[in-house]
């Protein structure tokens, strides 16, 4: 049964911006799908609003729409492209929900478009709780006892039967959004209330608690001939109660007998058949009672999921790729297994290694959030590691997290007495640190059985932690660090850093001793078949075992270091650049990817010539380099594309003799060092905001007074805006410093130096991405921020090309950028943030590396910046790249008046983070980045592009209704015009009395509403927070007066976020929002593909070039 011949074009729906629960894994799966469909000769139409994805690179589809994933926009695209089919199963819940909406709106029927890879009844059966329960019953499985409810009153009745604690799960939400465990009625009312809101069908399931049961997942695939295979089993180390995305997970399942495993397999296969997933993948979750073996089917996802991506990387079985082939008609036995090349895909991978996934969290970004792990996913990324046993894989996975406190340690004496009791008391509550806490508790002598009783973590896993403790103790106690001692330590996952700390020596000494004794890792291959057949795909992982499988090669290799687990501030954008480097260098070089993030395209075994799934630590990277050096020549290592993680290794790698390509590590450091960078700026005659440092309150106050308020304060040792605040007054500064002092003394240290910078109020912030080859600068993109300076650039919306900069300002930017590039010594990419105030262009900071905005710039301009950077790093000049057509003749320093406008908007995760009492954390933007992802709005003018960006980011701006305005005093003047315009557009204006008075004096009538702090009126008149919570306000404008927001502002913003309404927290956003609302009112969005935009741009560039040459000729004639 070969490919269907009745399908010629397919619309693939992507998953939109990166959010918690739906991350880069869908770029991986979507990219695979697009590749496969193109290979099959089909016309691929793609829609995804996320510009940071590889899938939206123009070469992966025939028509790529970076447009909002809404029914309206999808309908326009379908009407324009007339695809034969839609493939909605590779873009996460977003794509599946979009397909359901299209079906419900009758669009599929109207345009004769067929859903492939899933059908509506199957989606409903899989996702609708009640239907799914029936499916499970038919399949001979059991579901947890439960009740479907649609109101809080129904919930209260149902819980009388089910009892507390009771699990609350809203229907049709992703990543467990809105779900939770209610221990009492207050919890129940709150969680069910939210759940009903988040569920698009206002439906919530309550079910008996199976907390503490063992949790498993199976990844299955089915083809149209009804062949079913189980690709992978996954076991959660954290038992039921922690979302699988937040659990430490292991593949394959390690604590089931064959009989028990086959029972799960039988149920899983029966379920996929009964649900009717015709072709493609699905994921089924099970709970197993640890005392009786009773099995409960928790849920299924009738689509490719996060776990599918993990399973693909864990086994080498490319689920998304195969799902795409199945969707167009192939059967599993007709599809070859890429890894072996000789066997078919109709088999079940078998592993001769262990895979461990560890989640990465970002609670530090949300200090008010409750860090307890629940059934709502809160992690922002994950790292995966492979080892030849569990301990080795676990050690590697934990150090891949790249964050303090996430690895096992044996510092100081083991805990005793009250300190031990206190820690033991905490381990029943799952948190991001639980595994380390458990290790400490075991180390202190608490028994495996007691820890099991408290945590529900299977005793087999606990015994393995105990084993690691024993190995560590032996390593510490050994009279000498012999090969045998080291080999045992390494086989159980201890890093050089851990060995060094156990022995009281430096990491360098530990490594040198190890290497001198010949204790070196070997590299095994992920081959899907436990070595039964020869593998031809060099997908490697390290292990301290006997035989290595790295093949010799002739071509020189370039190692590219990826960015590790996704985190806020370092996400998919960096993976994008790394993937581009491999694409650019393949052919001339053997590209070797080193990364540990299973959610990415870079860790697809098809992306680079060789893949090492390894932690990005000095030790692990060095060993990969040594292994590759033994295999053939190594041209160098690229560290500047993967973000801070590889960059921070640059100097040590260079010191160890590794050839770093591109900007030298010393130059990277120079850009980060205030003194050295100050000298560069001074030499170039470029101003930077005044700054100073302080370690005491008096000095801080004196410095701030000298510089002048407002000032930006931050501790000097942090990156990514951690702890950074804008301070407007002496009083605020005192509060900040006292808080920092208290923090420091709590940690038992002195106050680290505080950096105090002049904060440029009312500045226009400008972001620049450029390329420098040592002689010439190519200005890739100039982005103008919509928010003023002071909002982290990652959280700020920005527009490209800049809409309010003049040609001469652009020239100054280019000249300044070139001066810095030259002064720092950049070879490759450079990102600079400028602030323009009163005609002075200040340099805020420069980063000689790929920035978060590189993919956005590339999509908006059609220029492959990261590819060009990789080529520059390996010796090409910008002139070469112009000549070969990689770069166009003109850069962003030349204004193209007809260029389309691209708006990048950040997507923020506030909804997921709750304080201890269950309310949303504060949503105000600040100098600390908290967004998880971004979208791009792309159109011919700014208002429409902005409106599209808002639609893509959070469902769009309202076009009518009520607007509530409450702003800080300093902003009152600036809001008059936009608010007046809002009123003209038909909005009813609500305001608190102070703002209302200002508006009234400016001739704008508004309805005065009660402040939250005033409480309800005598007759129960609602406060503004009540109105927002009741859904009666459509857009909220609230600018906070400095950090440490007053209760009113916080309550307003939290209520708005909880009610899912538009919120504006800066004056600049308000202006843009008003323009966007006007654009949205003007009618449905038009759509254009990147290919159309790029063709138009190329046409204009050609015309300019022809014009220039005509002008040149005529000049010569004259």
């Amino acid at each position: 049964m070969p490919r269907r011949t009745d399908i010629h074009s397919v619309l693939v729906i992507g998953s939109g911006p990166i959010v918690i629960g739906q991350a880069a894994e869908f770029d991986y799966s979507g990219t695979q799908a697009c590749r496969v469909l193109k290979e099959e000769g089909l016309r691929v139409v793609l829609v995804n609003s996320n510009p940071a994805t590889i899938m939206t690179d123009p070469e992966f589809a025939d028509a790529t729409y970076v447009e909002p994933i809404t029914t309206e926009v999808l309908t326009s695209i379908i009407a324009k492209e007339r695809p034969d089919a839609i493939l909605p199963t590779l873009g996460g819940q977003t794509a599946l929900n979009a397909a359901i909406a299209l079906d419900e709106a009758g669009v599929l029927e109207e345009y004769g478009v067929e859903l492939i890879g899933a059908n509506i009844p199957a989606i409903q059966k899989g996702e609708d709780r009640e239907q799914f329960k029936q499916v499970v019953e038919v399949c001979g499985g059991e579901s947890a006892r439960s009740a479907i409810i649609h109101t809080i009153d129904e919930a209260l009745v149902a819980v009388e039967d089910l009892g507390y604690p009771v699990v609350v799960r809203p229907s049709f939400t992703m990543g467990g959004l809105g779900s939770g465990i209610a221990y009492d009625e207050a919890d129940l009312r709150r969680i069910v209330g939210q759940g009903l809101h988040y569920s698009p069908t206002t439906e919530v399931l309550l079910e008996e608690s199976i907390l503490g049961w063992k949790e498993y997942e199976l990844e299955l695939m089915r083809d149209k001939a009804d062949n079913v295979v189980v690709v992978c089993s996954i076991e959660n180390v954290d038992p039921v109660g922690v979302h699988t995305g937040d659990s430490v997970t292991v593949a394959p399942a390690l604590t089931l007998t064959d009989r028990e495993y086959q029972r799960l397999r039988d149920i899983g296969i029966a379920v996929i058949r009964e649900v009717g997933v015709d072709t493609g993948g699905c994921n089924i979750q099970f709970a197993v009672n640890p005392d009786t073996g009773r099995i409960i089917v928790i849920e299924m996802n009738p689509r490719v999921s996060r776990s599918s991506a993990l399973a693909s990387k864990a086994t080498g079985f490319p689920i998304a790729k195969i799902a795409a082939r199945l969707a167009v008609g192939y059967t599993l036995d007709e599809i070859p297994n890429d890894i072996t090349g000789s066997t078919p895909a109709s088999f079940e991978p078998t592993l001769d290694y262990v895979v461990v996934k560890v989640p990465r969290f970002a609670f530090e970004k949300f200090p008010a959030a409750d860090p307890t792990l629940t059934t709502t996913m809160k992690s922002v990324g994950e790292a995966m590691a492979l080892g030849r046993n569990f301990t080795e894989a676990l050690g590697k996975a934990m150090r891949s997290i790249d964050r303090k406190g996430t690895t096992f340690h044996w510092d100081g004496e083991a805990l005793t007495g009250e300190a031990l009791d206190a820690l033991v008391a905490t381990i029943s509550r799952p948190t991001e640190h639980r595994l380390v806490d458990v290790q400490q508790v075991l180390r202190a002598g608490v028994s495996v059985d007691e820890v099991y009783a408290r945590t529900g973590i299977d005793p087999w896993f606990l015994d393995q932690l105990q084993l690691i403790n024993e190995v560590a103790a032996e390593t510490a106690a050994a009279p000498e660090l012999t090969a045998a001692v080291l080999r045992r330590a390494k086989r159980h996952g201890l890093s050089d850093v851990q060995v060094a700390s156990l022995r009281g020596v430096s990491e360098d000494v530990a490594r040198e001793v190890r290497q001198a004794l010949g204790v070196r890792p070997v590299y095994k291959t992920v081959d899907t078949c436990a070595a039964e057949f020869a593998a031809r795909t060099p997908y490697h992982y390290s292990s301290y075992d006997e035989e290595t499988e790295v093949a010799p090669r002739e071509r020189p290799a370039v190692l590219i270091l990826g960015s590790g687990p996704n985190r806020i501030g370092q996400g998919i954008e960096f993976d994008y650049s790394c993937v581009h480097a491999t694409l650019a260098l393949k052919g001339e070089f053997e590209t070797v990817m080193v990364n540990c993030n299973p959610e990415t395209v870079s860790t697809d075994y098809d992306t680079a010539d060789r893949l090492y799934f390894e932690p990005l630590t000095f030790e692990d990277v060095l060993e990969v380099y040594e292994a590759e050096k033994a295999a053939g020549p190594v041209a160098g290592i690229i560290v500047q594309l993967g973000g801070q993680t590889p960059l921070s290794l640059a100097q040590r790698l260079e010191d160890a003799g590794l050839p770093i390509l591109g900007t030298p590590p010393a130059a990277i450091d120079a850009a980060e060092d205030r003194g050295a960078f100050g000298a560069v700026l001074a030499a170039a005659g470029l101003p930077a905001p005044a700054f100073g440092t302080a370690t005491t309150l008096p000095v801080a106050r004196e410095t701030a007074a000298r510089i002048g308020y407002p000032v930006l304060v931050r501790p000097s040792y942090v990156l990514g805006g951690r702890g950074m605040e804008i301070v407007y007054s002496d009083e605020q500064l005192t509060e900040y410093v006292e808080r920092a002092l208290a923090d420091a003394s709590a940690r038992g240290g002195a106050l680290p130096p505080l950096l105090i910078d002049r904060f440029l109020d009312d500045a226009i912030e400008i972001d620049v991405d450029a390329l420098y080859d040592g002689t010439e600068l190519f200005l890739g993109g100039v982005m103008e921020h919509i928010e003023e300076a002071g909002i982290h650039s990652g959280d700020s919306a920005c527009v490209l090309p800049p809409v309010s900069l003049s040609e001469s300002e652009l020239q100054r930017i280019k000249v300044s950028t070139e001066a810095i590039a030259q002064g720092v010594g950049v070879r490759g990419l450079l990102n600079i943030q400028f602030a323009l105030v009163s005609d002075v262009l200040y340099v805020l900071e420069a980063n000689p590396r790929a920035s978060r905005t590189v993919p956005f710039v590339s999509k908006a301009t059609g220029v492959p910046l990261a590819k060009a950077a990789a080529l520059v790093m390996t010796g090409k000049s910008i002139a070469d790249l112009r000549a070969s057509g990689v770069l166009p003749a003109d850069d962003a320093g030349v204004i193209d008046l007809d260029a389309p406008i691209a708006v990048k908007e950040a997507v923020l995760p506030f909804k997921r983070f709750r304080t201890g009492d269950g309310t949303v954390v504060d949503t105000v933007l600040g100098p600390e980045m908290r967004s998880t992802g971004e979208v791009m709005g792309f159109d011919t003018d700014f208002p429409t592009a902005f409106a599209k960006s808002q639609s893509a980011a959070f469902g769009g701006l309202p076009t009518s209704g009520r607007a509530f305005i409450s702003v800080a005093d300093r902003d009152k003047r600036s809001i008059v015009f936009p608010v007046k315009r809002l009123q003209e557009l038909g909005f009813e204006i609500l305001a608190t009395d102070g703002t209302a008075a200002v508006l009234k004096r400016n001739g704008i009538a508004s309805t005065v509403v009660r402040k939250f702090s005033s409480g309800r009126g005598p007759a129960g008149e609602p406060t503004i927070v009540d109105l927002i919570s009741a859904g009666e306000v459509d857009i909220v404008v609230n600018t906070p007066s400095g950090q440490g927001a007053r209760a009113d502002g916080y309550e307003i913003r939290a209520a708005t976020t909880a009610a899912d309404k538009a919120i504006v927290t800066t004056v600049q956003q308000l202006g843009a929002a008003v323009q966007g609302i006007e654009a949205a009112l003007a009618g449905p969005f038009g759509v254009a593909s990147l290919q159309e935009h790029d063709a138009a741009t190329a046409g204009r560039r050609a015309a300019v070039a022809a014009g220039a040459s005509v002008a040149g000729d005529s000049g010569a004639v004259a």
């Binding site: 394959p252 007998t257 064959d258 009786t292 007709e334 000789s342 066997t343 078919p344 078998t350």
Partner: protein, 408 residues
């Protein structure tokens, strides 16, 4: 920690730690790629005289219980694992695997690079090997024995090719497995009666038949046709088992007696090889065999793929691309089709006679360990017994193999 050494006949050695019993053991070394089911594997009589390497690194995690064994004892002659469990964890576990191996005197080795070993066996083929541990590593004077001496000893051991081993693993006396009703209770009147010749039968096999209402008379390997007929069978079954089918003269003769009487026949694994030989096809030794629970087998009659459990080192040599006339005795058994084929390497995985009520598969529909995808074959056997005249039609529905994708 006791030292152990794995010695291969080609001279390669792997140093590790003793696991289970210490001492010396010899056998043909083979690898099994299943990630679950070590208890079933260890107790599968087909592994008699074989040293089994588990490619899955963690073995013993769920301990040992008394429900899962496939026979009354561990049959492997040696056991090679990478990371044995220190603690068993499962609600059904009665004791640790380490204890069980030691109690049954099974010499094992742990801590070696099992992947390197597997790759070696894949490239060089299965071979004879020894595990030597503890005092057995020392000579009379207490000195470590030289590896070349141990290799030489291995080279002196018998080869698996030519070995007739069924008699060593078969039951001594006949016994009956009672038929069960749908409720799991014994059935008064069985729906059919099967004479199952035990060539190394796994306990799940009669259980799978019993679940379908079949009364199973398990007979010793040396049974005569009269012994078989004495059970008044509706069908005859030949089980899996160890050894080289070309050495099984008695069993092949017995099977021909069955075929001549047109008694419905079903064979599994060794039983498939014996059907092949009875029909006059050859059998041959595979380079490294199929041992695992993830093998894709195509049912050529339906075009469906099933994921199956395998444990075989020998295979039948029959024409894949056409229906052939069984070569034995001028074609007196009529036409035969290869009903199942392994999609990994096109090895014959099933035979169906078109003019006789006889079929067999090379793999394990009883699973244990492994997936249950092929359990339908027991239904086919029951159908065949109910209507023997249907011949292969019951066993394969369609006979035109060119319709199936692989047949083309």
């Amino acid at each position: 920690m006791t030292d152990a050494l794995l010695v291969l006949e080609d001279g390669r050695t792997f140093a590790g730690e003793a696991y289970g019993a210490t001492g010396t053991t010899w056998g043909e070394i083979v690898f099994n790629t299943g990630m679950t089911g070590y208890q079933e594997t260890l107790t599968d009589p087909s592994y008699h005289r074989q040293i089994v390497v588990m490619t899955a690194p963690h073995i013993g995690n769920t301990g040992v219980n008394d429900e899962d064994p496939e026979s009354g004892r561990i049959w492997v002659s040696g056991y090679v694992v990478r990371d044995p469990a220190r603690r068993a964890s499962n609600w059904r576990s009665d004791r640790s695997l380490d204890e069980e191996l030691a109690a049954q005197g099974v010499v094992g080795i742990s801590g070696i690079d099992t992947r390197a070993l597997t790759r070696h066996l894949r490239e060089r083929g299965v071979m004879r090997a020894a595990i030597v541990s503890g005092d057995a590593l020392l000579d009379a004077a207490g000195r470590r024995r030289a590896a070349e001496d141990l290799v030489a000893e291995v080279q002196d051991r018998p080869q698996m090719a030519g070995a007739d081993l069924a008699g060593e693993v078969s039951t001594d006396t006949a016994y009956v497995v009672k038929a069960l009703g749908p409720d799991g209770a014994p059935l008064g009147e069985p729906v059919a009666r099967v004479a199952a010749v035990d060539l190394g039968i796994k306990s799940m096999t009669p259980n799978r038949m019993a679940e379908r209402g079949i009364e199973v008379h398990v007979l010793p390997a040396q049974s005569s046709i009269d012994d078989v007929l004495a059970t008044a069978p509706d069908g005859v079954f030949f089980s899996n088992g160890p050894g080289d089918p070309s050495a099984a003269t008695h069993e092949v003769e017995l099977l021909r007696e069955v075929l001549d009487r047109k008694i419905p026949f079903f064979g599994i694994c060794y039983g498939n090889q014996l059907l092949g030989r009875a029909l006059g096809y050859g059998t041959y030794k595979l380079g490294y065999g199929h041992r695992g629970v993830n093998q894709p087998v195509l049912d050529r009659a339906t075009g469906r793929v099933e994921i199956t459990a395998h444990n075989h080192g020998f295979a039948v040599d029959a024409p894949l691309d056409e229906v052939s006339v069984a070569p034995h005795d001028g074609g007196r058994y009529g036409r035969v089709t290869v009903s199942h084929v392994d999609l990994n390497d096109d090895v014959v995985e099933g035979l169906a006679a078109l003019d006789l009520p006889a079929f067999s598969v090379q793999y394990h529909p009883e699973a244990a360990a492994g997936p249950h995808d092929a359990a339908y074959l027991f239904d086919r056997f029951l159908d065949l017994m109910r209507d023997p005249s249907a011949g292969a039609a019951a066993a394969g529905q369609a006979t035109d193999v060119t319709d199936s994708p692989k047949g083309a």
